[in-house]
């Protein structure tokens, strides 16, 4: 039974994740009045990349390939910990939220490590930016998580996310949405489409990757996006007291909504200048912090 559950879950995350970037691109195309690439474009790309050979820099060590693999798997396992509405999570225990956060950190570490492998200045730059902005992002996430656990008096995702939304839901939503944009390298932090390497964070880190490792990276990124949107939705929408089906529906709708929002942001906003990025992240952190304080006070009364 557990095995089947695991397999289904795995399938869900692995298969569904690449859909989101497709949707985002569609939205952008639609806003811009273009036809745009098919929704399943990422699936094609992944399939193609999976069959391609690999060009390995002379300087790179085997970790150049191990890095993406570990990052990919770390994200997948993190996803396993993320409850899916009524379905709950594959495994839930006190403090699993911390494991989730640190698995994300592990993924980041490995990506950055792999990026530094080639000794390319661009990838070094990308890695530096990635790890630096992560500091603020981590702060925001932990604040958000704290506020959730203050609301619910629990430290395990399953119980943290289920009950009805707390007083700080709006703040939380805003904060987490910004974090989502930052962590997934979307506009206004990053632009997955441009190829001006200097302006990029994530894309700059994977310049030298090719073939299956690149596929792993792209797929991992899509899983991360789905993960965050699921987190955002369940943190904000009250679905603890809904029927299972309704809850599932709400979750799906919410995720779709988030994706659309991301798409709209991407098509309406321009990239921020780098010196403004920390400002925006700090704002996100402050939003989550306020959410936390609201939750704390709310409990005190």
């Amino acid at each position: 039974m557990i095995v089947i559950d695991l397999i289904l879950r795995l399938a869900f995350w692995l298969l569904l994740a690449p859909l989101l970037p497709g949707i985002i691109n569609k939205v952008k195309a639609w806003v811009a009045g273009r036809r745009g690439p098919p929704v399943l474009q990422l699936y094609y790309d992944l399939a193609k990349l999976w069959r391609r050979g690999v060009v390995l820099s002379n300087l790179a060590s085997p970790a150049f390939i191990a890095g993406p693999a570990i990052g990919w798997m770390a994200l997948t396992l993190a996803a396993m910990l993320m409850p899916l509405g009524p379905a709950g999570s594959a495994l839930s225990f006190r403090g699993d939220v911390l494991l989730l956060i640190y698995l994300l950190a592990l993924a980041r570490f490995c990506t950055a490590w792999a990026a530094m492998e080639t000794g390319s200045a661009f990838e070094g730059m990308g890695a530096a930016r990635e790890v630096s902005y992560a500091v603020l992002a981590e702060a925001a996430i932990i604040a958000a998580v704290l506020s959730l656990s203050v609301q619910t008096g629990s430290v395990s995702l399953a119980t943290m996310l289920s009950p009805s939304a707390g007083a700080g839901a709006v703040l939380l939503a805003a904060g987490l949405f910004v974090v989502l944009l930052a962590e997934n390298c979307r506009v206004p932090f990053d632009d997955p489409n441009t190829h001006l390497e200097l302006t990029m964070i994530h894309e700059a880190m994977v310049l030298d990757h090719s073939g299956p490792p690149l596929a792993a990276i792209l797929h991992g990124a899509s899983i991360k996006l789905l993960l965050f949107s699921a987190l955002l939705v369940q943190a904000v929408f009250p679905m603890g007291d809904l029927e299972p089906l309704a809850a599932a529906g709400t979750l799906a709708a919410g995720v779709l909504l988030v994706t659309l929002a991301v798409g709209l942001v991407e098509s309406l906003l321009a990239r921020l200048a780098f010196r403004h990025v920390p400002l925006l992240l700090t704002t996100a952190f402050l939003l989550c912090l306020f959410a936390l304080l609201v939750a704390w006070k709310g409990g005190a009364q």
Partner: protein, 654 residues
């Protein structure tokens, strides 16, 4: 064998090895290993079988006393926990030093180094067991001074000398506080004997003395001034034991006496705050360093901060009616003592072999070493993952416990627990920064292309240095994958810290976490291997780094350590106060341009420096009174006479 016998063997062999160390390095190594192993045995017996061991000299009154006090040793859970660390790192370092600081390379200082190493181990071991104020101070001072002489092994270098002096001065400042602490303790209780005395509320204020005195050694943030330079300039095996074990002695002091004595109400908050600050600022400074040993040293400041957060949480819980989350916090802190000891020594050993191979500590002169020294690279990477607190390694377990404690504190919504919220957030930021720092360190040292010739000519270290590193790496992995096995020891230590929490039941998730880690390890390695296979199958082509098509990349075009840390050091400019020198390129055919960035020892150079300058001014002023003119000397006598006369006439009222 009983702990007593084991300890006898340990101290005996170490004592002999002091004398032996000057001559026979092999015998010395064997003796030291016997000593450390039996010490480890004794500690484990106490920790696992829970047979606390105590010994008072049964001789006649006045028969055999040191300084008029009869010897009293005791080895309980807490001491044993630290003793394990001393034994493991002490033994590993002894092996490592034999190749790293060999008679062949350092004929003059290697024998000294061996002897002082044994003295250091011996004094730390005794320190952990002595329960008499006078003897504690003796062991403490011997420990401090042996550390000094170990740092000074290479005392021909001026940098080493100044670092050593700074260490000695700071350490003595701490010791003076401890003088006051123990003297006041003895004056209040009427005896030098130490032990549980929570029932003397009047002793509570002494905690501040202990906090400063021991904190000086523990090196948390404002008191860390001596730490970076000392750890960076000492021989690497010394840095390893200094950073992995010696500073823990300061922590032992704080934990031990906060357990034995009553603590003031504010203690918990202060300690948490100090911990949080040193965690965040420590790692910020670490990230900004270019010297990888300095980076490691500052990272120790961060880790002490993490431990202090845990301890502070526990103190807070104790002072507010034994809130159960305090147990998790202190357990995490004590486990982190082991973890930090393990991975920090591993990292310093790795740093040592890099230094040994290339002769430079500057990361921006290294690079691409993984090819020449795969073992070091791999083990260093493992250490880096562990120190960044990433699963599935040991760092995560302890930080997870501390986090859990703080989260429970917050969710308990007790009004005094608010301090846990900022602590958690700062801890998280520190975690992210740690990952950043070690991504940088590993990448700058081992990845990319060699930036200088020595880096290109590097060679792998021998088995004598590799062995200890492998052993410590195994410890990291073991704690990470099987935390459950280590829980009983930690809970024993917690019990002996605060009896009310003895027989502490294991938090269930730890077991799950262990399983998850094992699964994680398997999956990750399997997938990594699989992807590698897949890439090979698809055809693996070696080529030049693409680098956006730039045809002639050179090693000097790589991102350097300073530029990697640039963003963050910009955010923390207020704390780091970086000193920048830049020469911009200009003209149509730009000539050479440069940008130097130096991170000063802010606290030392911006705060302590001016103060000491002031003191020296005063001293110079006073010294000018000794100007050699006899007439004035006699005048001084008259002045003294008159002053005393007035003082007496006023009845000596101050």
């Amino acid at each position: 064998m009983t702990p007593g016998q084991l300890l006898l063997i340990a101290f005996g062999s170490l004592a002999i090895s002091i004398a032996i160390g000057f001559r026979m390095s092999r015998t010395w190594l064997i003796l030291t290993l016997i000593g450390t192993i039996s010490g480890l045995g004794a500690a484990l017996r106490v920790l696992l079988l829970g047979e606390n061991w105590a010994w008072e000299n049964g001789f006649r009154e006045h028969a055999f006393r040191l300084g008029g006090e009869s010897l009293h040793l005791r080895l309980d859970g807490l001491s044993a926990l630290f003793l394990v660390l001393v034994s493991v790192v002490g033994g590993a370092g002894a092996i490592y030093s034999r190749e790293y600081w060999s008679d062949h390379h350092y004929p003059s200082s290697a024998p000294r180094g061996r002897a002082w190493w044994s003295v250091l181990l011996l004094s730390m071991g005794l320190l952990l067991m002595i329960s008499n104020g006078l003897h504690f101070l003796i062991a403490w001072e011997i420990f401090a001074i042996s550390g000094y002489f170990l740092i000074m092994l290479d005392n021909q270098r001026a940098a080493v000398r100044s670092a050593g002096w700074l260490y000695l001065a700071a350490s003595h400042a701490g010791t003076m506080c401890l003088f006051a602490f123990f003297a006041a303790l003895a004056a209040n209780t009427g005896s030098w004997e130490l032990g549980p005395m929570r029932d003397h509320p009047e002793l509570a204020p002494l905690f501040w003395l202990a906090l400063f005195g021991f904190g000086m050694k523990a090196g948390f943030f404002p008191l860390h001034i001596w730490l970076p330079s000392a750890h960076a300039n000492a021989p690497s095996h010394v840095s390893a034991i200094m950073s992995g074990v010696a500073i823990k002695m300061g922590l032992y002091g704080i934990v031990r006496f906060s357990g034995w004595l009553p603590v003031p109400a504010a203690a918990g908050w202060v300690v948490i705050t100090l911990g949080a600050i040193s965690a965040l600022l420590g790692i910020t400074f670490a990230f900004a360093q270019n010297d990888f040993k300095r980076l490691l040293a500052y990272c120790s400041v961060e880790n002490m901060g993490i431990i202090m957060i845990g301890v502070g949480g526990a103190l807070l819980a104790v002072s507010h009616g034994d809130a159960p989350w305090g147990q998790l916090a202190i357990a995490g802190a004590l486990l982190h003592v082991w973890n930090h000891g393990a991975f920090k020594s591993l990292l310093f050993f790795g740093a040592g072999s890099v230094l040994h191979a290339t002769g430079t500590k500057d990361m921006s002169r290294l690079g691409g070493l993984w090819r020449a020294m795969p073992w070091t690279a791999g083990l260093f990477t493992l250490g880096a993952l562990a120190v960044s607190g990433l699963p599935p390694l040991n760092g995560f377990i302890s930080e997870w416990l501390v986090y859990l404690g703080l989260f429970d504190a917050v969710t308990s919504k007790a009004s005094f627990a608010w301090v846990a919220m900022p602590a958690v957030i700062m801890l998280a930021m520190a975690g992210a920064l740690a990952a950043a720092s070690f991504a940088k360190a590993g990448a700058m040292i081992f990845l990319g292309a060699p930036r200088t010739k020595p880096a290109a000519r590097a060679h792998e270290c021998g088995i004598g240095m590799r062995g200890p590193m492998v052993a410590l790496a195994c410890v990291c992995a073991a704690i990470g994958l099987m935390p459950v096995l280590f829980w009983p020891a930690v809970s024993r230590a917690v019990g002996s810290w605060y009896p009310a929490w003895s027989a502490l039941e294991m938090p269930v998730p730890l077991f799950t976490l262990g399983k998850v880690h094992v699964l994680l390890a398997i999956v990750l390695s399997f997938v990594a291997w699989g992807l590698w296979r897949k890439a090979r199958a698809n055809g693996l082509r070696r080529g030049m780094t693409w680098d956006c098509g730039y045809a002639a990349p050179t090693a000097r075009m790589q991102y350097t350590s300073a530029s990697f840390a640039g963003i963050v050091s910009g955010w923390f400019r207020w704390a780091l106060q970086p000193e920048r020198q830049t020469r911009k390129p200009h003209g149509y055919f730009p000539s050479t341009a440069m940008r130097l960035e130096r991170i000063p020892e802010t606290v030392l150079e911006r705060i302590i420096g001016p103060i000491s300058v002031l003191v020296m001014k005063v001293s110079t002023g006073v010294r000018s009174l000794q100007h050699g003119r006899l007439q004035f000397y006699i005048l001084y006598i008259v002045v003294g006479l008159v002053a005393l006369g007035i003082f007496v006439v006023l009845g000596g009222a101050p």
